[in-house]
Amino acid sequence: MPVAVDARTMAVEGMRLGDHAFAHYADDDDRWEVLSTFTQIGLTNGEKVIALGDPAVEHVDVLERLSTWSPTAEEAWIRGQLEITSMRALIHPDRRFTAGRQIGRLREESVRARREGYAGLRSVIDMAWVQDLSMDVEGVMHRETHADALFADRTYAEICTYDRRRFDPDVLEAMRVGHPVVLLERPGDLAVHHSVNGVHLIGDADAATAAPFEAALRDALTDAATAGHLLLDLTRLCFLSVTCARSLVRLVANARSCRRVDVLCSSFHARLLDGVGGGVLKNLVLPHPSKSSQ
C-alpha cells in the first residue's frame, strides 16, 4: 500500500533537531538507507546518534549497514558518538515498556549527549521492538502522540521506522498521521503533493525521477490553465539537476494559458532556474534571493 504524501512529507536530508519523523520500508536493503543518511548527517553536525535496531539484527550488522551511507559510522562508534543498542536495553532494568519510562530515558540520553559536548541527540528506532516487547499498538500510538516535550527545545530528533510487512495498513496510517514529519521511503525519491495552494515537489529531481517530475509539472500546468495561475513549491526539493531545471523552464514557457507561475524555492534553486532561462520568462516568477528559503 502506498504511503500518502502530504504537507508533512519531506526527504530525510531535510530533517533537523526538533523533528519527530515516521519512516517506512518493505525491503531489507532499503530499510537502512534513510537511517544511515540520518546518522551520517548527525555525525557530520557534531551530534550524538543512538541506533535502536531491530532486535533480530546483530549490532555488528547494524553498524555495517549504517556504514553504507555513513562512512564515518565505525569511527564514530569507536569514540562513542554513535551507540548501537535496543529498546530492551534502553529501558533496562524495567522489563515492560511504558511511554513514560522510554521518554524519560531518551531525555536522560539527550541531556547526557549535550553534557558530553555534542550539539544534540538523534535516535533511530526500528519499530520491530514492538513485537519483541509484546507491546500493544495502542500503547505505541499513545507514546508517538505524547512525546512533544522531548522535541520542544530542538536538541533531539527521532526517526521511528516501520516495516510495512509487519504492521497492518490501518496501523501504519495511524502512525503516519501521528507523526509531525513523514519521510520519503528512500533518499533520491521524488514525491508530489497537490494542495489547494498549488503543487509541491519533494525530494530529488534528477535523471532517475525526471519522468514523474515532468509529469507532475505538466499536470499542474494543465490544471492551472483555467485559473491562469499556479504556485509551484520547491522548498522541499533537496536536489534539482540542470536537466530538470531546464525541463521546468521549457514546460512553463510552453504553458501559454498559465499567465503566472510563482515559484517558492531556495536561493540556490532560484539562481539555477534563472541561469537556465527562467529569468527571462514573462510567466515565471522566481523568488528574490533575499526572500527565498535557504
Partner: protein
C-alpha cells in the same frame, strides 16, 4: 580561472573514492555533499559543489561506459574532484540499461552538463587516463581562514 590555494588549515578530510552507476547518483551526491561539509565548504558553495559533481558523474554515465569512479581530495586549500570512466564502452549492449536509467542521450543534453560544471567550478579540464578513458577534473577553492 585557476584555483588559487587558500590560506587555511587543512580539515584533515581524507581522500574519498566512490564507484558510481546510473542507479547510485543520489548516493554519490550525498557522500560528496557530506565530504564537502567536513572540508568546510560554505553552504551555498556546497550546493554548487554537489550539483557540479552530479552533472559530471551524469555525463560519464550518459556518454561513457555507464559507470565509473569519483575521486575527491582536499589539497592546498581546494577541493579537487576527478570523475573517471567516460571512456569507450566495452559492450554497447551492456550499456543500454544504464543509459536508459540516466535519461536519453540527446545532442542537446550532450555537453550541456559539462558546460554547467564549467560555470559552477573554479577550474575544469577534460583529459584521458590510460585505464579510465576520459577524466573530468575540477576544483573548488575553499575560503581562507
Amino acid at each position: 580561472m585557476t584555483a588559487a590555494p587558500g590560506n587555511r588549515t587543512p580539515s584533515g578530510n581524507g581522500l574519498l573514492e566512490i564507484p558510481f552507476t546510473a542507479s547510485s547518483l543520489s548516493h554519490v551526491r550525498f557522500h560528496a555533499g557530506e565530504w564537502a561539509t567536513r572540508s568546510g565548504l560554505p553552504r551555498d558553495r556546497r550546493a554548487e559543489f554537489v550539483l557540479a559533481v552530479h552533472e559530471a558523474v551524469s555525463h560519464a554515465v550518459r556518454h561513457g561506459t555507464g559507470h565509473g569512479r569519483l575521486h575527491l581530495r582536499e589539497e592546498q586549500g581546494a577541493l579537487h574532484c576527478h570523475v573517471l570512466g567516460a571512456g569507450p564502452s566495452p559492450s554497447r549492449a551492456d550499456d543500454t540499461g544504464a543509459r536508459e536509467a540516466c535519461g536519453t542521450d540527446t545532442t542537446e543534453s550532450s555537453g550541456e552538463d559539462l558546460a554547467a560544471v564549467r560555470r559552477l567550478t573554479d577550474h575544469l579540464s577534460i583529459g584521458t587516463a590510460p585505464a579510465d578513458g576520459t577524466v573530468a577534473r575540477f576544483t573548488f577553492t575553499l575560503p581562507a581562514g
